[in-house]
């Protein structure tokens, strides 16, 4: 009887394991790992190098979308973030990896909303390398291109409900030489539409 129970449990566990293999999570670059330099074209069609665009203290990569209402809700905060951190030697760089959004739309959206460069990640190469999944999602890389923080800008898509500014806290701690308490965070956003989907 025990043998039968064991057999049943084993079959069930194997079936559950096989099924659970459908679960896919894009890991990407780990915290503490170094991002290699990369080149992408900006909205004017000019190829830009990450190392040329980053500030003396690093860069914040923000994955954006033209259509995503969450990005729209964050735009004001992203613009303020870019202004505040440019003064601290950290440049904000926008990346659009959505295969469904045309160059014209991305260009018009960037011109309307941002003063920082927005790069087109054709084939979601950089999104895959970093493991970006949603918009808006950020990656803070320090002066040595080491990933210090990844994830949400703050803890709520509604600006009036924000209580934790994860990205700012991480960048400020790193700039002042302190240990970054929270190196990643998730928040609701729009899934990046990859070419493979």
């Amino acid at each position: 009887m025990k043998k039968l129970s064991f057999l049943a449990a084993a079959i069930f566990a194997v079936a559950a394991f096989i099924s659970f293999n459908n679960v896919s999570a894009k890991e990407g670059l780990a915290i503490g790992a170094t991002m290699e330099n990369f080149k992408l074209t900006d909205t004017s069609g000019t190829e830009k190098s990450f190392n040329d665009l980053k500030g003396k203290n690093g860069a914040i990569l923000v994955f954006l979308s033209v259509q995503c209402p969450v990005v729209k809700g964050y735009n004001e905060r992203i613009v303020k973030l870019a202004e505040d951190y440019a003064a601290k030697g950290i440049n904000v760089i926008g990346i659009n990896s959505n295969s469904t959004e045309t160059m014209e739309k991305v260009k018009a959206h960037a011109a309307e909303n941002y003063k920082f460069p927005v790069l087109i990640d054709k084939g979601n190469v950089i999104a895959d390398r970093l493991g970006a999944n949603v918009t808006p999602e950020t990656f803070y890389l320090n002066a040595k291109n080491v990933l210090v923080y990844r994830g949400a800008i703050d803890n709520n898509k509604s600006s009036d409900s924000v209580t934790n500014k994860f990205l700012r806290d991480a960048a400020d701690a790193d700039l002042s030489g302190k240990t970054v308490a929270k190196t990643s965070a998730v928040a609701f956003g729009c899934s990046i539409k990859r070419v493979t989907e």
Partner: protein
Amino acid sequence: MIVSPQNYGNFLATNKHERTRKRTKKLFVSFRVCSWLNLLRVSVVSFCLVFVPAENSFAQTRKGKTKAAAKKIKAAPKNVASNLPKVTQIDATGLQNLLKPNGKPLLINFWATWCDPCREEFPDLVKIGADYKDRIDLITVSLDELSEINGDVPKFLAAMKADKMPAYLLKTPNEEEAIAAVSKDWQGGLPFTILYNANGDTIYIKQGKFKTDFLRAEIEKTLANQIRFQIFQLPMSICRPVTLTRKKSL
């Protein structure tokens, strides 16, 4: 019977033979009974595996549990004032309570009216809800603004004819906590679909649009595993040795 000393030897031999014969007969009868029991058990299992169709979920026979499940997850009530589907506001704690299955597999879809792929996959979700009615619990959780709880959210649900599935709107000050409660593999992107089996184990998750065929296959597998698991347990409980206890006299 009188046994003389002369035929005592024969008597002993005959008696011994008789006892051996009786013992063998007893053993044979026990063996026959065991064989019949085993045969019955194998037949029940085989019959159930072959002939019990997926839609007659074994869980349904467990009336107590099914009734309890039905009590907890009912068909979505209507918003009386507007005749639109009712959308219930929940916080992170409410969400955690929703994540517990009630004797049936549980499919949860997180969506928002502003999310294009969410809207695109919704008709398929409604169809799945109708096709697996009573066999799985299907609920939707909207991430729209609270101001839309009586506006765009129920309007969209009505347009999708999704008034049969319980609908919720999540409003939490800590999105990260809510996301982590659902799955450690969820990065917060919408749409997000998760399937739990009746035991609460995660069977399938998808951030982004789900593939209908794939999701249906996962549901079928989950239901089949559930039936098999219960059938395996059934004969064991039938054939468990019964301990007879003498009635205590009052």
